[in-house]
């Protein structure tokens, strides 16, 4: 499995990123090297092994439905590049 420059452009567009043609080439190569590593992992026989998305032998970590006063509100707002009153402000999004 290998990705093409077109696919890199597509994923970049979904993430609202754009790259120069040279960077697109470089990224395509890097992504393909990562995929080659995945191919290597795929050589392992995992027949009968349940897929998992993490390695901890824990499940059902539920939190009681209790309110914690929101911490760090001021810090989070202060980190916003732009604000208006207590709103985060971004360039207008066309609907």
């Amino acid at each position: 499995m290998a990705v093409t420059v077109e696919e890199v452009r597509g994923v970049a567009a979904l993430a609202r990123l754009s790259f120069s043609p040279a960077d697109e080439e470089r990224l395509t190569g890097e992504l393909n090297r990562i995929l080659q590593y995945m191919d290597r992992l795929n050589e392992l026989d995992t027949e009968g092994v349940e897929p998992t998305s993490h390695v901890l032998p824990l499940a059902n970590a539920f939190r009681p439905d209790e309110v914690d006063p929101s911490p760090a509100v001021a810090d989070i707002l202060a980190a916003a590049p732009q604000r208006q009153e207590s709103y985060f402000k971004v360039p207008r999004i066309i609907d």
Partner: protein, 476 residues
Amino acid sequence: MRYETVIGMEVHVELQTASKMFCGCAADHFQVEANTHICPVCTAQPGALPVINGRAMELTAMTGLALHCQIRPHNVFARKNYLYPDLPKGYQVSQYELPLCEDGWVEITSEDGPKKIGVERVHLEEDTGKLQHTGRASLIDYNRAGVPLMEIVTDASIRSADEAFDYLNKIRQVVRYLGASSGDMEKGAMRCEANISIRPEGSDEFGTKVEVKNLNSFRAVRNAIAYEVERQQQVIEEGGQVRQVTMGWDEQMGVTREQRSKETSEDYRYFPEPDLLDVHLEVEWINRVGRELPELPADKAARFSEIYGLNQKDIAVLIEDAAVAAYFEEAAQHSGADPKSVANWVTGEIFRRLNDEDVLIADAKVSPAALVELLALVKDGAINQNAAREVFTELWEKGGSPAAIVETKGLKQISDTSELDEAVAKVIEANPDAAEKIKDGNLKTVQFLMGQVMKETRGKANPQLVQELIKKQLRV
């Protein structure tokens, strides 16, 4: 050509939890100052880790069970990746391949009687922030970001706007009975999308479906579906083809409009959320949630019919709100209460007041016991219907005991024949024309004389007795 409408619905329901889905921020966001309920988790600060709100899981499982779904012990939260400022993380945590609840149904009322609508899945996800667009900027409030949101998806078995309307009503009733959500569409606690297509009647193939969003009220659902069906028919009859697009319902203009898609392609690149631990619900957990289910609307309706012998129309009104149904039952089970007349008062006078004054039955000053006492006074002939209404008004406004109100207001019914005989004689004398008409066989005029006697007795006369006395004195 005749066409058949095919509809599938996606309903989003905001859960009534105290805290958000993955953090302890307050879930309340309606008319709250912007960005006061935010924290490192729900604004996606690096290193912050989410933890599942157990109550949100329970409420979703309860909803699934109420909709006859299977609960999937191993269900998985996944990242739905898309970049839009209403999502601080760049992805929404949702459930994709393995949802919490699957394969259920809801019974609705269709033109041809009861009908089951298949529920494909009920899953849990997090709500997004609220955007406001001003001149050159968009303002974001993340108080709603991360609030638990349940999505209920049907199969394509809904066949008309009326069926969609009834389906939505049934869903709202269920989530309200469970205390899972306010189900209030006007406040955005319940939001709805419909996938609509049409096909020639008798055809087994599906037509191209159009997704309609922005259905923010029950009325919008009905109107948007009716409009969209009409539009698709016109396209086909003019020789065109329905295109697969996403439309928004424009409430003011009463039309559906094509929306520009959020993504160039719907490529959400779902993958399991690595920040959350696995969910493997134990049988004991599922059973415990099942035991928490209250009596559901359909079961209550069947029971009210069987135990109290009420008609379907009264039952529908009584069970709409579980608190109203409980009020009715408390009164109806009082000794000496006649369920039918209790139902009449609850669906009549009490409902009118609740609606006119926009109050909840929990806040009513008339207790079920007082209502029963009032009805007993009418039944025993202590007061007539007029007086009963006056007593009710007093009870509604101030509370208290019906008997005491009858006493202080002097509303006791006059059933003393000699006293009434006198009043009747006086009224006949004052209205000779009416009396003549009655003697000539015009019995409708008796009503008129009765009204006069009522006036004479300040509304307290026993109407049956008055009627008898009028006829007796005029010898008809």
